[in-house]
Symmetry: C2
Subunit: 91 residues, 2 copies
């Protein structure tokens, strides 16, 4: 019986971890898509974008695919390179 409780506890814990991990990954996904859409809306390839930011296309790919862990300054540069501006608020 205590085995069952332990199992349930463990199961719930893993569910929480899964959900938290999922939400974090989803946020990264959202921001990455935001950046990708902004770039494509300007008709730029990752390579052209890389030139504007004085870096390489691999870096652009990484930014768009791991956007949760980029710096705000990087996000700012990305937007500026597209002639656009960031809007950040806390709701």
């Amino acid at each position: 019986m205590s085995d069952l409780k332990a199992y349930i506890r463990k199961r719930k814990k893993s569910d929480v971890e899964f959900r938290e991990g999922f939400e974090e990954a989803y946020k990264a996904f959202k921001i990455g898509v935001l950046l990708k859409e902004a770039r494509e809306a300007s008709g730029l390839t990752q390579e052209k974008m890389a030139e504007k930011l004085h870096t390489r296309k691999s870096a652009i790919s990484r930014i768009e695919n791991h956007a949760e862990d980029i710096r705000l300054s990087t996000l700012e540069k990305f937007a500026s390179a597209l002639g656009r501006s960031l809007e950040i608020s806390i709701r």
Copy 2:
């Protein structure tokens, strides 16, 4: 608003550096103030905020005063600790 005056007074140590770095510094200032106001709106001191984020008050101070170069994940944690959410858009 006296915060802004103190900030500018501080930045005026060198007018040249002040002008050159103003835009970037001002963005950091804006985000820092955003975070600080969000924290104070929840009635938290930097020390209480530090407890929620499992870190120290000095880290909170640094976040609020050098906010341009923090990671998105850090910004996310800050908002989550206040039970709030980030809104990021590119305009």
